[in-house]
């Protein structure tokens, strides 16, 4: 699904990724670990197609609409409500039975009560949950999750555990974290970036 050869990405003069070879098959769960600044986020952004490699090659054989990307930022409009944000993405991603699915996700992640509140009023944990909803809404084949546990409380983390367990083996996942312990049992591979 993902194949990289000699992949490199520099920002100006600084090389964040250098000469990386990678192979991710369908339904793998690749755990990407490494300290801050090691290029985890950059790698995920490259796989998502947001960044282009500055060296080497990267091939991702999934079309844009089948990728789910969870970044550091929730990628949500603060002035829109949870419902409006999900509706926007639902429309753009052509999600079938949009309303039902949105309702289902909001309920599952405990956000139903706040669905008409502006995202700007949400706590960090709630925003993260909503971001997860956004990422999963269109049932992507490839999931790129950058520190998905960041900001989640215990309850949220458990929800995510369950979600990941359900997804493993049915989807392809790349998960970047600097706390691999939680996800390690599910992983089919590990990539440690320096």
């Amino acid at each position: 699904m993902i194949a990289a050869r000699g992949l490199g990405r520099s920002f100006g003069a600084k090389a964040v990724l250098r000469d990386l070879d990678l192979d991710v098959a369908e339904r793998d769960l690749l755990l990407v670990t490494g300290p801050n600044g090691s290029g985890k986020s950059t790698l995920l952004a490259l796989c998502a197609g947001l960044l282009a490699p500055t060296r080497g090659e990267l091939e991702v054989s999934v079309e844009r609409g089948r990728i789910g990307y969870l970044a550091h930022e929730p990628l949500l409009y603060r002035e829109l409500t949870a419902l409006e944000n999900l509706d926007l993405y639902g429309r753009l991603y052509r999600v079938p039975e949009r309303r039902e699915r949105i309702g289902m996700f909001l309920e599952r992640y405990g956000l139903w009560e706040e669905r008409r509140e502006r995202v700007g009023t949400f706590s960090r944990g709630m925003q993260q949950r909503l971001a997860l909803c956004r990422t999963l809404l269109h049932e992507p084949d490839l999931l790129l999750l950058d520190e998905p546990y960041a900001g989640l409380d215990e309850e949220g983390a458990e929800l995510l555990d369950g979600e990941l367990r359900a997804l493993t083996g049915t989807r392809t996942l790349l998960l970047a974290t600097h706390d691999p312990g939680r996800v390690a049992p599910l992983a089919s591979g590990r990539l440690a970036l320096a």
Partner: protein, 208 residues
């Protein structure tokens, strides 16, 4: 490069007065500037087409050359205006106004490049901007023509449109060729220099 310089200086002994002499320098410089901008746009198109970042540097250098020759056009044009009509600037000289607009436009190109992190994104944005520039040239020219009726209605006697007779034509063509050669060699010079810099930076970074 020596050859181009030789060519360039040879026709500095034509029969007419100083005023006409400037013409032989001013117009080729202007045409060369246009050529540079079109070259830059072509390279920009190639960049967007092939995603080969090699073209970014080529496009950028071409714009740089274009701006240099653009400034020269403005300066020589100003001198020409001074000798022809006694003023350093006039709005009724279309080419001059056009170059002023283009100068502003392409200067902003550099502002754009300086304020964006080097990388594929900057290359693409620069390319799109360079394409806009080339489209702007005819549109601006049209606008300036239309504007003539509206602003600064003092119209100066324009004796440029005369047909170029035999020896004059030859002189002109030689000047044009010389200027283009000059631009070309400066372009290659700068391009090689920049490529070397990039290569050096790469090596330095690979060793660290």
């Amino acid at each position: 490069m020596g050859i181009s310089l030789a060519f360039y200086w040879v026709p500095d002994a034509p029969i007419e007065g100083f005023r006409q002499r400037i013409f032989y320098i001013h117009v080729p410089i202007a045409l060369t500037a246009y050529a540079c901008f079109f070259w830059a746009a072509w390279k920009a198109l190639r960049l967007l087409w092939t995603r080969d970042e090699r073209y970014d540097l080529e496009s950028y250098t071409a714009v740089h050359m274009g701006v240099i020759f653009g400034i020269l056009t403005l300066v020589t044009g100003s001198i020409w205006a001074r000798t022809s009509w006694g003023v350093w600037w006039t709005w009724s000289e279309r080419q001059l106004v056009l170059f002023l607009v283009l100068f502003l436009f392409y200067s902003a190109y550099f502002m754009l490049r300086f304020s964006v992190e080097p990388g594929p994104r900057r290359a693409r944005m620069s390319a799109v901007y360079a394409l806009f520039g080339v489209v702007l040239i005819p549109v601006s020219f049209l606008a300036i023509r239309l504007a003539e009726g509206l602003i600064h209605p003092v119209v100066f006697d324009r004796d440029v449109g005369e047909n170029l007779a035999g020896s004059q034509l030859l002189t002109f063509v030689i000047c044009l060729a010389g200027t283009l050669a000059l631009a070309g060699s400066l372009y290659l010079n700068e391009l090689t220099g920049k490529r070397l810099d990039a290569r050096l930076a790469e090596l330095r970074e690979a060793l660290s």
